[in-house]
């Protein structure tokens, strides 16, 4: 009896080993399958986003065309001017390009900490843009990100966010404005300040003239206040047709 029992136990054992092996190998494809499914989903969503973006662009163009047809020449031209000034439309022209880049950030061999004193900070970019606005710049973009009246330039940890989108070194502040904008900037307070930073900490700073640059429209500009040009036939339920301007919390940029 006992010999048979031992044989049976060993048979059980072999069975157990095989089941465990099969279970382990069966788990693996399931894991990679899940991963592939996720990748597929991400790609699908990306395509969807691109399609929707294309549709939004097409509809935006359509709206522009219709508006132009309805409003007629003078008003449309005035509207275009306004859009260019506020950052709603792309603009083309000459001006200045301010390039700021992080200096060396050596790691202290003893403490292992990184010395970030030569890094370009949000306040530096704010200073640069404010100086450009004050010297007659009509449109400014940081690394291709167009600034509007409500744009924000803020620091979040190590990254600088322009309108909540991260920008990285080297920072290119391109401004469209008067012809002597670059020279003006260099000689002004901001230019001297950056020159000093460059000399002292190894930051790189450059202000050059640029011609024929195109600044794209701002990606997102929320409509905050709207006033109807003709009083509407007072709809019931609405307390007032005129919306009160919200207290905007934006700073920097301008």
């Amino acid at each position: 009896m006992s010999g048979g029992a031992a044989a049976l136990t060993l048979a059980c054992l072999g069975f157990l080993l095989v089941v465990a092996y099969q279970q382990t190998t069966a788990d693996e494809p399931a894991r990679s399958k899940a991963r592939e499914a996720l990748i597929q989903q991400v790609q699908n969503r990306r395509e969807q986003t691109a399609q929707l973006q294309g549709r939004a662009d097409r509809l935006g163009d359509e709206v522009d065309a219709l508006r132009e047809r309805e409003l007629g020449g003078a008003t449309a031209a005035k509207l275009r001017e306004l859009e260019a000034a506020t950052g709603l439309a792309s603009v083309r022209g000459s001006g200045a390009k301010i390039t700021l880049a992080d200096g060396p950030t050596p790691i202290n061999p003893v403490t292992g900490e990184r010395n970030t004193v030569a890094r370009v900070k949000d306040s530096d970019l704010q200073l640069a843009t404010n100086a450009l606005w004050s010297r007659g710049a009509e449109a400014i973009a940081i690394n291709g990100q167009r600034l509007t009246a409500t744009s924000t330039i803020r620091q979040a940890g190590e990254a600088v966010l322009v309108d909540f989108r991260p920008v990285t070194t080297p920072y290119e502040v391109v401004a469209i404005g008067p012809d002597d904008l670059a020279a003006d900037f260099r000689d002004g307070y901001a230019g001297r300040f950056f020159k000093q930073l460059a000399d002292k900490y190894g930051m790189s700073f450059e202000a050059t003239d640029v011609a024929n640059v195109t600044l794209e429209a701002a990606t997102e500009l929320k409509l905050r206040v709207a006033v109807p040009s003709t009083p509407p036939p007072a709809p019931s339920g609405y307390p007032s047709a005129e919306a009160q301007p919200r207290n905007s919390s934006s700073e920097g940029g301008r």
């Binding site: 006992s2 010999g3 029992a5 044989a7 060993l10 059980c12 080993l17 095989v18």
Partner: protein
């Protein structure tokens, strides 16, 4: 000889039947394998020591597997299933190494 044949029979059975393990039992599988390995090495050692006993082998195999499963079950109920599984694996691993060392001394006298 019969033992080896029985082992092969078990392996073949597993391959042919290709059973699927229910999800609820999956945590017990690795523990059961380790416990069974411990019983096998114990059996081989006893055989080489000349004190192998069929009955003891069978009972030790079954009790090892059951106790290991019980501990993991208890751990699952207490919310420390993975820790207790690790504990079981460590304890059985130590025993397996002890048995293998004894077998090695018998075979190679080293």
């Amino acid at each position: 000889m019969i033992a080896v044949l029985a082992l092969f029979a078990g392996v073949l059975l597993g391959i042919v039947l290709h059973p699927t393990v229910p999800v609820a039992l999956q945590p017990y599988l690795p523990i059961a394998v380790v416990a069974a390995l411990d019983a096998v090495f114990g059996g081989v050692r006893a055989k080489l020591d000349g004190i192998f006993d069929d009955k003891q082998f069978v009972i030790s195999f079954i009790s090892n597997v059951l106790v290991a499963a019980l501990i993991v079950y208890l751990g699952d109920q207490l919310g420390v299933g993975t820790q207790l599984s690790t504990g079981v694996v460590v304890v059985l691993g130590v025993r397996i190494f002890g048995n293998v060392a004894a077998i090695r001394r018998h075979l190679f006298s080293a």
